[in-house]
Symmetry: C2
Subunit: 238 residues, 2 copies
Amino acid sequence: MTKVTAQLSVSLDGCYAGPRHDGTGNWMESAESLGFFRVTRWVIDAMAWRERLGFAGGEQDTNSQIMAETFAAAGAYVMGRRMADGGEVPWGDEPPFRAPVFVVTHRPRETLVRGGGTSFTYVTDGVAAAIERARAVADGRNVAVAGGGELVRQVLKAGLLDELELHIAPVVLGAGMRLLDERLDLDGREGIELTPIRVVHTPQVIHVRYAVGGRARLVLDDRGSGGGPARVEVAAGD
Amino acid sequence: MTKVTAQLSVSLDGCYAGPRHDGTGNWMESAESLGFFRVTRWVIDAMAWRERLGFAGGEQDTNSQIMAETFAAAGAYVMGRRMADGGEVPWGDEPPFRAPVFVVTHRPRETLVRGGGTSFTYVTDGVAAAIERARAVADGRNVAVAGGGELVRQVLKAGLLDELELHIAPVVLGAGMRLLDERLDLDGREGIELTPIRVVHTPQVIHVRYAVGGRARLVLDDRGSGGGPARVEVAAGD
């Protein structure tokens, strides 16, 4: 059955890149880039990713296997406009997706057909429509929300995401582009409940995959701890 | 050798409680409390914690074993003033620490000696001094920063923390009191590097313990990925 999935590399504090680049100067020299390359270091080392991108070398390890599974599981992609624009030239004639990609944008454009099975179709009627377009051609595999983080958050917020996998790199960035924050518009008395599906840890990164439940009101449940918050604060550290 | 440690239960998005209670009305009915009880649910179920608090029942499971280890490893505690004030009455004559507690505060006060080996010593010359006072009496066990989250962040920011363990509950709160954020004053071009020591996962929570390295400048290292950020964005989801 086709699931809508997303996976993102983040720091322990949930940043998938450094502070957003303001567009002036070279992105590669920006703080956004520095944070981004730190949390995705495991990806760039993975042979399965390097092969897709046509780069030599790489590690044939657990991280690489997870990356290979990630590519194999996707039958179609949904992508944000910023990512698609940034990738169009460098991805060249044979982009690494090898599947149909549906780009969420406000600007109508003819479908761009590339080699190796990749095509870019520009969808102007919203992310839900893009997901349905992708689902229709995913051939039983998953619809992968390729990113960027803004789009992943939008899909989660809309309740359209079935699975979320975070690859947590052992670093704290403190400042940066955060996936999960106030922009989800949770009101402080509700949460999005998750069910862990798989946890794989390596020295470079912890891979945590969750099934995404719906939004749910938080119910006070102190398990008979006797009430007073202070009692609970003891073991919980606050 | 005595280490300075901290452990905190958080949501997947790094919140250890809901939005901070404004002090009006009942804390137990606040959004802060709702989020706090959600991320600490595993603690309240743990027999090792319930025994310390004098509550009946509880689960004798992996989570409980981790809680038991956490209590056993601490030879002395450092605690924030808000937590100490909140706990003083409910903890009663035999607080659960069973070790000396050093409270970081601006208000001088005589040491409060309780039963079962717990004492509260009020330290007015800062967190570093409180940690040294605790280290001197920890008898080779760890100095545990008991919380709250503000104090844990302060200790991490000051470079005084040797180990940080997060207990990550499978929920997204979106809004709440966040442990790791801009208040660490990282400038977007540096990070705090961590080394994973132990990862234990249960259906209720993922326990992730890290050794804390120092602040380090982030070095651009694209592992020969060919430069363009877009190429890297493919697999990383942004």
